[in-house]
């Protein structure tokens, strides 16, 4: 059986759980629990372990979607999670105090994994607060030495999330062809 996975990372409230629900065939088991003090101001419920969903391709093949817990104290899971991964989808919450700092933290944290695979970045909550100019995200990414797509996304939109994953796939292999 050929099973690969895509990792979803990002700070608390960036939309990882929603993104996985949006892409999954079956509703993933919710692991959200009451937020601890340090995250309560961002989100009333937060993911303390990880989110998990699947996209079934055919009888024998599945893509596993894993969301890392947004809280940094769970970063011990990240290395375990990334084995056999296709790449990283990083979601950044545009309403956070310093989304560029978040970007730096996560790109640095997953640096080795990204080097082996690829990264696509989705900026969420752009409808709540005027978007920090996309140029700034791109500039920061370049400055940190990474290449990858950065899109505005609504984690509830299949089309947006699809574009983000497509960008990841084509970054890994631009020679991929569309097929049924």
């Amino acid at each position: 059986m050929n099973e690969l996975k895509i990792i979803f990372a990002g700070p608390v409230g960036s939309g990882k759980t929603t993104a996985i629900i949006t892409l999954s065939d079956d509703a993933p088991v919710s692991t959200n629990q009451s937020a601890s003090d340090m995250t309560r101001d961002r989100k009333s419920e937060t993911t303390v372990a990880m989110d998990y969903g699947t996209m079934t391709l055919d009888d024998s093949e599945k893509i596993h979607l894993y969301g890392t817990p947004g809280q940094e104290r769970f970063d011990f899971m990240w290395d375990i999670l990334t084995s056999n991964g296709l790449g990283l989808i990083l979601l950044l919450d545009n309403t956070r105090r310093d989304p560029l700092n978040d970007m730096t933290f996560f790109l640095e944290s997953f640096k080795n994994y990204i080097k082996e695979t690829a990264v696509s970045i989705g900026i969420t909550q752009t409808d709540v607060v005027p978007l920090l100019k996309m140029d700034k995200y791109h500039r920061k990414m370049k400055e940190l030495g990474f290449k990858g797509a950065i899109f505005e996304v609504d984690a509830r939109s299949f089309n947006d999330m699809s574009h983000l994953v497509q960008a990841l796939l084509f970054t890994i292999d631009p020679g991929l062809e569309y097929s049924a």
């Binding site: 692991t31 372990a49 080795n112 089309n159 062809e177 569309y178």
Partner: protein, 443 residues
């Protein structure tokens, strides 16, 4: 060697973490792991020593099942360990966990696993365990110099307590030439012909054919739009553009364009060469309020609807106008022999979709290519690349490369991923072969 089954239970680890470990255990070669709920049936117990109230549970477990092996995980070093206990400091490195599992497997089965799979992605962000500490009987793993050192504290293996050195080989990625000859399959994108036209590929060495792939934006609405955007930026004000008895409002500060006409009229407007019958009006800052009031006023419901319906993000508007104007062609003067590059990825989720846009962007971000080469390397018709370039150019994201190196590099087909077949299936699932447009309600 046939796979042996090892039964593993958990203590202090939540279901989701178990799920991750389950996935990891299943990826280990030569050892089949089965997760069991009943701890009396397991041979190894994975214990999170940072879990709430774990101390009591741990003591109860070790008293009840003294023969079981334990893998302890903790952020901090643990001072006292059971004889059959292995310790891994968080963040847990998968190579370290794999080695420990194999070590325990050898102790249980008496069999030796000769081949250790190549380690991938050894993160060095967090401190890793160093050497074996005889006094604390702690398993020590050293990931320096591409080697793993491991030791156990099991009494049965005391004679073998010498540090074993297991080489880790760096995985070599086998790059294969991509075969992309069948990439012309069109995605089901509405109004595709309006965006990319129907122009067939041309022989770029035949001067007679070149006219077919160029257009002159200066003669069309596209140039007026670009000029008005610049005017709005320079004046830092709203510019009202009147053309063909229609009005457009360009607001650079808000990055918004309002129009009194919708796409049905706008598109033909892009195809008619203009006769300079246009006028501009500079609006002061107060007009922004007026415009909003105009939109929101109940007395102007018709206009409100019109403006709301015909309000674009400025970049999206330029992109759209460029696609309608170029229809798969290139602005006059674009070089076909100079490599082009992308400054950055276009914000494709907020721009009108054109077939193969993501592929083309991925290729040109990675390396500059001439436009015909990009089409050839991806195995797609030139018009898709031309349309994409024209649209990117209009919003300032594509340029001709001036770097000498880009001219000297031979264009190569992109490397093929080892799991291309499964990636292709995933792509098929993502792009319209499966109709899914649900909007979830959770945040």
């Amino acid at each position: 060697m046939s796979d042996e089954l090892i039964k593993i239970s958990f203590l202090g680890i939540d279901e989701r973490s178990m799920s991750a470990y389950d996935f990891f255990f299943n990826s280990i070669q030569h050892i089949s792991c089965e997760l069991v709920d009943d701890r009396s049936l397991s041979q190894i117990c994975l214990i999170d020593k940072d879990a709430y109230n774990i101390r009591e549970q741990y003591e109860k477990f070790t008293q009840s099942y003294p023969d079981q092996y334990i893998i302890s995980l903790s952020l901090k070093e643990v001072s006292s360990l059971n004889d059959r206990e292995f310790f891994l400091q968080k963040p847990v490195k998968r190579d370290a966990l794999q080695i420990v599992l194999k070590q325990i497997y050898q102790l249980i089965s008496g069999k030796t696993i000769k081949k250790i799979p190549a380690a991938k992605n050894i993160q060095t962000r967090a401190p890793v365990i160093d050497t074996f500490d005889e006094s604390t009987q702690r398993v020590k793993i050293n990931l320096d110099n591409n080697q793993l050192k491991i030791n156990t504290v099991d009494h049965q293996a005391k004679d073998d307590r010498n540090t074993k050195v297991i080489p880790i080989t760096t995985p070599v990625t086998k790059k294969q030439k991509a075969v992309t000859s069948n990439a012309g399959k069109l995605l089901k994108i509405v109004n595709e012909k309006d965006f990319v036209g129907e122009q067939r590929d041309i022989d770029i060495n035949d001067p007679k054919q070149l006219d077919k792939i160029f257009y002159n934006p200066d003669r069309f609405f596209q140039a007026i739009v670009e000029k008005t955007c610049i005017k709005s930026k320079q004046a830092d004000a709203i510019i009202q553009l009147n053309i063909f008895n229609r009005s457009f409002y360009f607001d650079h500060q808000e990055q918004t364009v309002y129009s009194t006409v919708g796409p049905g009229i706008l598109r033909p407007l892009c195809l008619i060469p203009h006769d300079n019958n246009i006028s501009y009006k500079l609006k002061d800052a107060a007009f922004r309020v007026e415009l909003q009031e105009m939109i929101q006023s109940s007395k102007n419901q018709k206009l409100k609807k019109t403006l709301e319906k015909h309000c674009w993000n400025m970049e999206s508007f330029m992109w759209l106008i460029s696609l309608w104007s170029s229809r798969g062609r290139l602005p006059k003067g674009t070089s076909l022999t100079a490599p082009v590059y992308l400054v950055q990825w276009p914000n494709l989720t907020r721009l009108d979709a054109i077939p193969h846009a993501v592929r083309i962007a991925a290729l040109l971000i990675e390396q500059a290519h001439t436009l015909p080469d990009a089409a050839r390397l991806l195995g797609i018709e030139q018009r898709y690349v031309f349309a994409f370039y024209s649209a990117c150019k209009s919003i300032g994201l594509a340029n001709i490369s001036q770097r000498q190196i880009d001219n000297t590099l031979m264009p190569e087909k992109p490397a093929q991923h080892k799991n291309q077949s499964i990636l292709r299936k995933l792509l098929g699932k993502l792009t319209g072969f499966r109709n899914k447009s649900r909007m979830t309600s959770t945040g």
